[in-house]
């Protein structure tokens, strides 16, 4: 065991405080900006804490009054929810049977390896034909079209997570059910899926996070409130001529809230999912 050297202990605590500050300072500043009056943010020297907290920007962005900043924001929020929801649902529906098949029949595993290898492809390598294809189908600037494209990212990842989840469910349990006369889908319903529920949930959460985070395809394939997602709306705000930086920060806080909450609540499951990827490869 390490000897408890007091100098070492002080050093450990100093490093811990430094690390915590590095992580928290930018996030805290994002929040402070969102509740600081515009004058405080433009003050020199800069005011690090608002004289009076001002939450009006949150109300402003979440209001649905026509032609307001809120209308654009809430529309993009709804689009993000729709696209992430649809893409996740589709990815899980595709991933469950495929992940199970590869887990139980390793001889077809090479096809999943090929699917996963597509992770290396930069999205720009697919973007031109996808753009032309969506345009031909009339699915540009459309949440269905975008959700379909998101499967390029979500489906390989969820299938791979599902496969490792099914690997940890002994096939003897399934075999017993089948000997008792249960068909494949019945066995899934009664035995496999209840046991795999945590993995399905983790995969779905990862998929939601990936879809929520996506920017490149959304930037290319959407153009107005009918399909623009949050990430594009925020990039528009950040790159536009908005004079109130607090409003941009508020949009950032609102967009970050769902994934950050998912991250905190599901910490254990997410970390084990992430690190098993790192450890097992």
């Amino acid at each position: 065991m390490e000897r408890k050297n007091p100098v070492f202990t002080v050093f450990v605590y100093a490093c811990a405080i430094l690390l915590a500050s590095v992580i928290l300072a930018p996030l805290a500043w994002l929040f402070v900006m969102s509740i600081s009056p515009a004058a405080d943010l433009a003050a020199k020297p800069l005011r690090w804490w608002p004289q009076a907290a001002d939450f009006s920007r949150y109300a402003q962005l979440l209001s649905t009054a026509e032609n307001s900043a809120g209308a654009a924001f809430t529309a993009s929020l709804r689009n993000s929810l729709e696209v992430a929801g649809m893409a996740t649902l589709a990815a899980v529906v595709l991933a469950v049977p495929a992940g199970w098949a590869v887990s139980r029949t390793p001889s077809v595993g090479w096809s999943l390896s090929m699917v996963i290898a597509t992770y290396m492809l930069p999205p720009v390598a697919l973007s031109v034909p996808l753009y032309m294809g969506l345009s031909w189908l009339g699915l540009l600037n459309n949440v269905f079209g975008l959700a379909l494209i998101y499967l390029t990212i979500l489906a390989p990842f969820t299938t791979w997570l599902m496969k490792s989840g099914f690997d940890s469910i002994p096939r003897e349990i399934e075999a017993a059910a089948m000997i008792d006369g249960a068909g494949l889908f019945q066995t899934w319903r009664i035995i496999t899926l209840p046991l795999a529920a945590p993995v399905v949930a983790t995969s779905a959460l990862f998929a939601v996070l990936l879809a929520w985070d996506e920017f490149f395809y959304a930037l290319l394939f959407t153009s107005d409130q009918r399909a623009k997602t949050l990430t594009v709306a925020i990039a528009d705000l950040a790159g536009g001529r908005v004079s109130d930086y607090g409003l941009i920060a508020t949009a950032g806080v609102l967009a970050a809230l769902p994934p950050v909450l998912i991250g905190l609540v599901m910490q254990r499951a997410l970390i084990s999912g992430l690190t098993s990827g790192g450890v097992k490869g």
């Binding site: 994002l30 029949t105 990430t231 910490q267």
Partner: protein, 294 residues
Amino acid sequence: MSGTWMTTRAWLLMLPLLAIMVAVIGWPLVDTVRLSFTDAQLVGTAGNYVGFDNYTKMLTSSNFTRTLSTTTWFAVVSVAAEMVLGVLAALLLNQEFRGRAVLRGLMILPWALPTVVNATLWRLIYNPEYGALNAALTQLHLIDDYRSWLGEPGTALAALIVADCWKNFPLVALIALAALQAVPRDITAAALVDGAGPFNRFRFVILPYLAGPLMVALVLRTIEAFKVFDIIWVMTRGGPANSTRSLSILVYQEAFSFQRAGSGASLALIVTLLVTVLAVAYATLVRKTAGSAT
């Protein structure tokens, strides 16, 4: 049940996934290859076959070589910094101290923050007139005048790298921490008894356990960094004076801003090839590291 039926059933179960993957990845990739040999525009003309013209034009353009070196620089520096900071943070989080569980929990925050929000946040921090960085450095008397961190070619790329590192080193830390927790305590204790100093303990006892997972993290992070688009697009759009333009942004400009689908496609495939070579080289390295560590 016979093996053939099992295999047939497996293929049937995979069919929906594979069909969709062929539609949204396979076909577009093949079509990108076809387009790369044409002078097609994004909208309108289907284009004529032009052989390797697009490739020679792109590979010999000064834009490409400059962008390649910018991207490489971004990838090498940010990934190296993320690895070092990640391992240091993991070593810290593996010590015993009060509040450790909370600090471990905080590490998930930058990872969970959407990339675009992270980019926006740092863009605000770097703001030349009202940014927090300028304010903090001025109030600490480290600089006299506010600077345009993202507006000057000399600092823009470094500023981007800092923002990218902040978001990504916690993930490396979590992966390294999981690996550290797998190091048997009696081995570190034995090394201590044998009189190994902190450096030697790290180098010969702990590092072999870290090597495998870290190599995987290194591969994934390098591939990601090489494909970088989002953070640069939101923070600088590749500017000022193209000093932060990555390969993905160059492809975007060629194919979508200038609507030259053909040459954009050839450029995209060159990038894909580079990433693939990188990944294969790394995979070989990972296999070797994994082999030597166990």
